[in-house]
Amino acid sequence: MRFILALSAALLVSGSAFADDVIHLSIKDHKYEPARLEVPAGVKFKLLVKNEDPTPEEFESFELKREKVVPPGQEIPVFLGPLDPGEYKFFGDFHQDTAQGVMVAK
C-alpha cells in the first residue's frame, strides 16, 4: 500500500503547466460549436465540453487520443496537449454525420 501511495503522489505532483485560459466547446443539435476551434500549441490546456442536447454524446478524437461521454445537459473537462502546431479532427461518436470539428493548434 505504501508503494501505491508513493507512486500516486509522484504521478500527481509531476503535472505540466497549463495554459491560463479554459477553452469552451458546446454540442447543440448534434453539432459542435464552434466547429473550428483554435487552441494554443506547445502547452497543456483544459477544454470544457458542454452538451446542450437531451441525448448523450461522446467527444472523441483518435488523433488526440481522447474518448469521453458527455451526458445530456452536462459539462465535462478534457485535458489536452501539449500539441504540435497543426489540425486535429474530433467528432461526436454518436452523431458522426453532423458532429464534426477541427482543433487548430497555433
Binding site: I4, S14, G15, F62, K68, V69, P71, F79, L80, D93
Partner: protein, 254 residues
Amino acid sequence: MFVASSRWLGAVAALALFVPAVAHADFHTRSPDEIDEGEIELEHNGAASFDRNAANDGARAYTAEIGYGVNSWWHPEVELGFERAPGPGQSTNATGVVLENIFRLTEPGEYWADLGFYAEYGFSTVGHTADSTLFGPLIEKDIGRTTQTLNIFLGKNVGPNQDNHGYDLSYAWQGRWNMWRAFSPAVEVYGDAGQIDRIGKFQDQQFLVGPVAVGSFLVGPLGKFKYETGYLFGATRASANGTVRWKLELEIPI
C-alpha cells in the same frame, strides 16, 4: 487535488468492503480511462492455453460481464467466470462471481500519467475453494503515438477455505501503437511472481508476452464495439507454451 483525494478515499473505502479474487486466468489490461458515465458495458473475455505437456494443455477461461459507469470516476462490474483446468478429461465449470471496481483518480492528460485504482472481490462457486481479492494501481501514459498501460496487483485468498495467507504479486503491461481506430497493434506482458514473501526463480513464475490487435467500431444505435485479441508466448517453464486471448466489448450509452 481535492477531487483526486476524495476519489482515493472512495477507493480505499471500497477496498475495505470488497476485500481479496478467485484465481481466474484474466488476460487483459485495465485502463484508468475506460470509465464512461451513464454507459452500460457488456464484456466477454476468453483465454485458451496450449502446451506440449498434455498435463498442462487445454486450460480455458471465459468471463461474461456487465458494468455501468455510475459517474465519471467509478465503474463497477459483475463478472461470471468459467474455467477448464489443464490436462485430459477436464470439463468447463462455473468458478466464481467477481465484483470489479475501477476508480479513475485523475482525468486523462491532467498529470504526467493517468492514474486509477482497481479492486475486486471474487466469490468462489467451487466447493472448498477460497474467495479472493485483487487490487492495485492502474497507470496509463501517452508517449508519442503510443499508449502505455501498466497494472500492478496484489491478490489474496480470504475466507475459511484459503490455502495460504500470503499476498500474490501480478502485473500486466500493454504498449499500443495508435495506428487506426479499427486496428492498432500492441504488445502485452502478463506476469505472476507468486507470493511476495517467497518470490522464487523467474523460471518458476508465470510470464507471457506476445502481440495483440486492438480496435473499435461504431455499431449504430447499439453503441460501440471494441475488441482485443492476441497470442501470448509462455516465456518460463511455469507458463503454458502459448495462450490465445480475446476480449469483446459492447458499450451502450443510456
